[in-house]
Symmetry: C3
Subunit: 139 residues, 3 copies
């Protein structure tokens, strides 16, 4: 069994954003030499997500508005977590809706995707350096 | 390490439905010859889900009503994604709540489930042929 | 390839609670002898979750209030599932928001976590014995 580990670093200049990280995960897969296996991609921070969906800017705006409706950033004092001095209580909730990470199949040395699947980093508390973990196992 | 890949195809006649696909995943497992490992089952389309829950029709109605409350299909023009000509903006949101897929343990050649766990395909934009991927790795 | 399986049992005295189970998963990992691989941790019951987030009591109160807003326990009769005689319709919905389980990378014999990542059992229909599955594969 082979395994490969890589960290991807991001510093998003805004509080929230969605970044297409598919090509960076494909690069990690190429480095691994794995042709059959599984690829785990997860946020290493608890106010961010990694998920699979469509690379369509209108959809990303829809996600942002919808998550703000489900778990609004303001008022800050609606979240007990923010009594710790943080202002990111909403980000911990938004991250649960979008998920911590994804597991993607590897077949014939490629990410085994349907036609529109792309991997995104979802940032909900940006403006600092944060990491995504790629862990690949297989043969 | 062994690996096995199988696609399951579905054409749901309605916009939304939940299908129990457990026996089809068990069939793929039997074909794989894997007795210890992991089984990834994921929608290959971004307006559908694969998830584990209970095979109880009332619960599935509850899910449908609840998802419609969280992310209503209409009015269509509430979603920027639908400016592309699609009418499935809501389906991309519903899919995030229910998840892209599941990873199930394989033990002694069987899906290692609790007493009520069953695998479902959740369709949120049906009436066309769509796929689920089963990828099994192990020994 | 090595594999290891362990069940963790819990009996939460209240309807809902969040339990930090990180050290129990680390114990299972130590027993496995695996140093590179993947660790699946999932609820074996369909009214409970396993997820990764922060060990901060205020945040856990925020999760509980938020989930009650998204899928209230009462009135019981708002859920068709409860026509079966159950009163846990809400728990099946809450569990989907928080997720069935997580896959965690194993690197150098340890759970490969960011600085604040901890694993939680989320109980939404407690007051009885329920199980979490830990399945580890790797080398």
């Amino acid at each position: 069994m082979k395994s490969h580990r890589k960290e991807l670093w991001f510093e998003v200049p805004s509080r929230r954003a969605f970044l297409n990280i598919t090509s960076q995960v494909e690069q990690a897969l190429a480095e691994s030499g794995v042709t059959e296996g599984l690829c785990l991609v997860n946020a290493m921070h608890i106010t961010a997500s990694v998920f699979v969906n469509d690379d369509e800017p209108g959809l990303h705006q829809d996600y942002d508005h919808w998550l703000e409706r489900l778990a609004p950033h303001e008022p800050i004092n609606q979240y007990r977590h923010n009594l710790t001095g943080e202002d990111n209580g909403d980000a911990h909730l938004k991250r649960q809706v979008m998920g911590r990470g994804v597991v993607v199949a590897i077949t014939d040395g490629r990410l085994d995707f349907g036609p529109w699947e792309q991997i995104f980093y979802g940032e909900f508390d940006g403006r600092r350096r944060k990491r995504v973990l790629v862990k690949i196992i297989g043969e």
